[in-house]
C-alpha cells in the first residue's frame, strides 16, 4: 500500500473512533486539494467553503464506512467532495442560476496536462490514467475532463465546445469505455 494512502487510512479509522485530532490531520493533508476540486465545480469561494465544511462533516460521520479494499482514501474523499459540489451546482442550475454558471465555465480546465506524464512525483495510478486519457480522441478526452473536473452537464459541454448534445453524449460514453479497457479493469 502507498504510504500516504496507508497514513490516510489510519486517520479515517481514527476518525471513525471519534478522534478529532485525526480529522484535523486529515484536513491539513487533503483540504487544499479538495477545496480546489470544489472551486472548479462551484466557481464561487463562498459556496466552495461551505461545501468543504459539509464534506468534512460527512467524512467525520461516515468514516467508518470507508473500506480500504474498495479504493484509496483519496478516491473516497474526493468522490464525497465532487458529489457534494455536483449537488450544489445542479440545485443552483434548477434555481435558474444557470446563466451565471454557464458564464463561469470559461476558465474550467479543458486541456490535458501533457507535462503530467513526465512528472516524477506523480503516483503511478495518475500516470497510467493520463496515458489512457491521451489515447482517447481529443474530443472524448476534453468532454470527460469538462464533465468530471468542471462538473458540466452534457448540455453545458455541448455549448462549451460547440457540438450537438448527442455527439457529446457519445464522446463521453465511448471515452469512458475506452478508458476502462485501457486501464484493464
Amino acid at each position: 500500500m502507498d504510504p500516504l494512502d496507508e497514513a490516510r487510512t489510519l486517520l479515517l479509522q481514527r476518525c471513525a473512533s471519534g478522534d478529532s485530532a485525526a480529522l484535523r490531520t486529515l484536513y491539513d493533508s487533503v483540504a487544499p486539494q479538495l477545496f480546489a476540486v470544489l472551486l472548479r465545480i462551484l466557481h464561487r469561494r463562498d459556496l466552495a467553503e461551505e461545501a468543504l465544511q459539509e464534506v468534512f462533516m460527512s467524512v467525520w460521520r461516515n468514516a467508518s464506512s470507508y473500506r480500504p479494499g474498495r479504493g484509496s482514501p483519496m478516491a473516497w474523499l474526493s468522490s464525497i467532495a465532487r458529489y457534494r459540489a455536483l449537488d450544489i451546482r445542479r440545485k443552483l442550475q434548477s434555481d435558474r442560476f444557470s446563466v451565471e454558471m454557464t458564464a463561469m465555465v470559461e476558465d474550467t480546465v479543458a486541456a490535458p496536462d501533457t507535462d503530467l506524464v513526465d512528472k516524477a512525483d506523480v503516483s503511478s495510478g495518475a500516470r497510467r490514467l493520463e496515458e489512457c486519457m491521451q489515447a482517447l480522441s481529443p474530443q472524448q478526452g476534453q468532454a470527460i475532463r469538462l464533465a468530471f473536473i468542471g462538473g458540466l452537464t452534457h448540455e453545458e459541454v455541448a455549448v462549451r465546445i460547440g457540438s450537438p448534445v448527442g455527439t457529446v453524449k457519445s464522446w463521453v460514453r465511448r471515452g469512458l469505455q475506452a478508458l476502462k479497457s485501457c486501464l484493464g479493469s
Binding site: 478529532s20 486529515l26 483540504a31 480500504p68 483519496m74 495518475a126 490514467l129 452537464t153
Partner: protein
Amino acid sequence: MNYDNPELLDRLAAEYVVGTLRAGARRRFESMLAGHIPLRRAVQRWEQRLFELSMQIPPVQPPREVWTSIEARIAPSQAPQSSKANSSLRTWQAIAASVAALAVILGTLLVTREPEVRVQVKVEKQAVESAHTAIVADATAPLWILNAYPQSSELHVQSLRPAALAENQSFELWLLPDSGAPPISMGLLPRTGTVVLPISAGQLRALNEASKIAISIEPAGGSPTGAPTGPIPYTAALLHLRGRA
C-alpha cells in the same frame, strides 16, 4: 430500468461518477445505491479509475475559518484535557514561539485542538499494519509521511516533495513527549525519496508517550547536542492507531 444487466449497470455507474446523469436519473440512481451491492462496487471501481483526474488541479489553501467551523460543529463530549497534556502543550508552545511564523500558527492550532480520545480500534490487519502515523504538511500539501511499525521496530519516512534546505543542513525528526520531557530524536529525514529508520527500545517507549512530532533544521548530520538547535519549521500530530500502553 433493468439494473440486473451488468453492462448497463456499469455504464450508469460511470455516468454517475462522471456526473453526467440528469438530475432525476441521478436521484433514482442514488436511491438504488444503498441496497444494490454490485451497483455500489461498480461506482467504487469508477471512482478509483477516475479520481486522479481531479488530483491534477493545483491545490488551493482554504481560509482558516473553514476548519474553525468544522471544529465547532464536531465539538464532542470528550474527556477534559488533563493538566499533564496542558503542560506539554505549553512546553511545546514555548518551543514553537521561538521559531518560524508557520510553526507559531501550527502551535496555536494545537492549543485549540480537542484532546484525543483514546479508543482501541479494530483494524483490518492485511490493509494496515503500522501503529503510529503522522502526515507533515506545509500550507498546501503533505511533505512527509511517517509510518511507525513497532513489530519490526521500523520507522518508514517518505518525502513527497522536497522541502527547502541549505546544502550544509539536515532535517531532524523529534518526538515531543506528552510529559513535557525534552524532545527525543528519531533520526534524520530524507529531502527526497524514502528511508527506513530503526527504532530503539527507548524510542519505541517514547513513541507510545508522545502525541506530537517536530522537525528541526540542524547542521548536516544532525543536532550536535542531542536537542533541537535550529528552527522548527514543521510540526504534526502523531496518531496512535491501537491506543497506547
